[in-house]
Amino acid sequence: MAPKGKSGGANSDLKQEDILQAVVFADSFVSTFAPVSDDIPRALFPVANSALLDYALEFLCSGGVQEIFVVCCHLAGQVREHLKNSRWNDKSSPCNVVPVVTEGCLSMGDALRDIDAKSLIRSDFVLIYGDVVSNIKLQPIIDEHKNRREKDKSAIMTMVFREVPPGHATRCPQDDIVLAVDNETQNVIHYQRIADSDTKHLQFPVEVIMEHKDVQIRYDLLDANISICSPQVPQLFTDNFDYETRDSFVKGILINEEIMGNTIKMCVVKDAYAARVSSLQMYDAVSQDILNRWTYPFVPDGCHRHNKDNFSYGRHNIYLSKNVTLARDCMLVENVMLGRESAVGSKTTISHSVIGKNCKIGNNVVIKGSYLWNDVTVEDNCVIETSLLCNNVTVYSGVKLSPGCVLSSKVCVGPSIELKSGTVVVHSQEDDFGEGTMDATDGGCDAMFGSKGKAFLYKDTSGDDSDVEEVTRQVWGITIETESSSDEDSECSEGSESPPDSLQPDVPVYYTEMLDTVQRSKDENISCENLILEINSLKHAYNISIKELTGLVVKVLLDQPFSENPSLSGAQALKVLTDSLKRHLMVLKNYIKNEESQRQCLEAIEDFASASSAHLQLVTKVIHFLYEADVLLEQTILKWYRQVPSNRNRGNNSDDEDLEDRDNKHAEVRKQVAPLIKWLEEADEESSEED
């Protein structure tokens, strides 16, 4: 019945077999939205009172896609049911939407392999997630992709990005990417997700710069995971079973570019909207963008609505559905959306929020930046800020929800309680022994949720640590930050400090590990070569620089006998120590080669000596032994001796007092070593006289 539009019609007349296909993943294969996504799949989350999946389908449909495969895994039944009752199942639907149930798929790779096995893909297709909201005009991009493919068969994929500079509200740190592109060919050469690397440093392979004349490195792109793929892509997924996600696929293609010859192109869109609801922060950002009409024509009052909810649009971005009851003195400030048959009581203020169908909101309520799904009841005098209230939630009177709360479906809280920032509440809970679930209706729920409360604090059952704080930070995290700038600052400073912190603890760990290794090598009589190998592998495992290593090795070798037997002293100690050093001479020679490493060795000895008076007496002997063994050279020892101790303070974070203390100790060490130095100097003079 649908008459031929501008798009598609002419094409399909010419080439009947060449219809445009798309694959939509109605599953994200990650649990970012737990516990909300436990009983409703992410693709069906209401965003501005319309299922997320419908935005993706509308977007594809307006791009001229005629056949869409919706891959359902998690809660596949719900997705199928939704599609069945939607307008996509109408006879008049402009495109054919086919649900593909692939239960048991754990990743996007599995799902694509399944698609390939069913051989559903016949030509170039669009690959997106079901949580994409976009109004990009696909047609020109697809045409460009096809034209390119005709000339060059190896351009198997076009990735579509939206230009969004850093610091933009619609940008989520988890999704930050950096990529390098060849300006000439528009080939993606390097693609990296910043969240994957644990440091603030980015590493680029040298080849990126070496092998390409004109490279641009971009950090201002938002990856909405929209890609135009050629039919080879599912085949490649089948051939390489280790491709799990699109990221790993992209990485694989880029690494094998030389061998396979496949390339990935990129396309940057500057004047259209594209974003993925990948986290609660993005849920918030995308919802606000929709209310601000960035997604036009996919706006609540737009033509794409066929869910019988006709929204009328009013000043200050207020969207009202039919049969909405508003008290005379309620205030809808701006960016507000009220679903069908919702009621708002008097003196209630709502701003920057979306209220679903059939919600009842009492008097004197303040709702700010929050999302209420369907059938939510909020009683009088509540304050709800930046929170998510899922279906059938009841908030009794006088409840205050601080920013970042998530109340998953059927939860009841109150009356007269306050939930602290970032609380995640669920209706039922697996009990501590993992035997069946406890339902809040049976009673026995936390007192913190009020006398009528039916709720539990959410515990992440999948993770090993059930640290609720961490979970909530994962869930809302940055949204709370954007709400108050002071929060943000503190978060930022925290963030910048944490990387060095995470590195620092490795050194002591490494030290004990090495001590154990040396101990074991003695006990089990392992040869020095093997010990060197072990030390080297430890170095890589703990990310220790070669500079630090020398000092550490010496320190460990010196400490080892004492850690074995702490009561060692006097001549006995000297004997054990020299034995141990003799045994490990090869190890020492391996690490101590040049002047620099010798100096580090001496510093380590110095540290060792200053640890206790017993050690102090040994230091001359140790240095002498090493001198005799040709590990340390005369000049280096002399140089070290003459150096002012405080000069070589390596800038450790010790106080002045500490420093002084150490200087004193070092002076003592020098005093102890003085006879040896004198002897060395004399020997030196003698030798020069001999010459």
């Binding site: 008459p3 539009g5 307006s62 939206r162 009409r293 960035w294 024509p297 033509c303 200050h316």
Partner: protein
Amino acid sequence: MYVCITIQGSFNVAYTTVSLLVRIISQTKWSNAKELMDIVRAEGKKLMSSQPSESAIGNMVRRVLKIIREEYASGLKGKSEEGDPQESLRNKLLTAEGNIDDFTRSVKDLKATVIEAMTELKTEIETSVDNIATQALEHIHSNEVIMTAGKSKTVEAFLKDAARYKRKFQVIVVECAPFYHGQELAVSLAKAGIETTVINDSAVFAIMSRVNKVIMGTHTVMANGGLKAISGSHAIALAAKHYSVPIVVCAPAFKLSPEFLCSNDQDAFNKFESPEDVMRFSEGKILSKVQIYNPVFDYVPPELVTLYIFNIGGTAPSYVYRLLSEFYHPDDHVL
């Protein structure tokens, strides 16, 4: 019925709507005029809800309903209900009375005649722009300075037609930010050999004193003779009023709508597009702190318009109501 997502421009919308209704009428099953009208009304409602801001859809549905009524009446009586517009009011009332209630009787060849009349309607739509353009010489005189705003196909044809007859005149085009359709029009006119100047929207008042005539297109002609035109039109109309410059509006008849502006809150009838054109999405953080509006239309009250040029001739705004009753049956004003 999802055409409107991809079809742009009132002309295309009107033409496609009629084509679609022809298909519906010829392919669905109905036994009498009442059923047919119900079908058309139901389909029309669906179409209109799919694109609420395109009034041309509703207009065409009403025209088709009127055609069905006329063909039914003429089939029944063997003579046209329409008759001659000069017919006396009493006479018209009498003839109308006879067939207003009962549309259930079967009429021979109703389908064929209705489709034939609709084909005529399609031809009318197709030729409407040409018909308007041919009137150009009567309105554009030698050495005149003409101001226009945005890009209207009708106005473009109108001006080019005048230029075709070697009439010398100058055109000042208001660019109409943020869509800048005015710039496209200016390019097109300059290529046709017309002396063209582009000005920005804020310069309208400054330039108006030397303009002889404002010729504009419109999206819809409202029932009271007002305009729903590209945003910025109201400002131009007020400036023209200040300098007593006549405003001529070129509009094909399918843009004539029986709708009124119900409230002064323009948001109800306006269309708001993505703010992208006003402020780029990549501007960054500031976006969450500002409200950006990008309205497409402006309402121009009828007292500011001097003359309408329809494809059936020139009309004063006060006469629009008469045309309405000629095009649409009063029962169809609300579908």
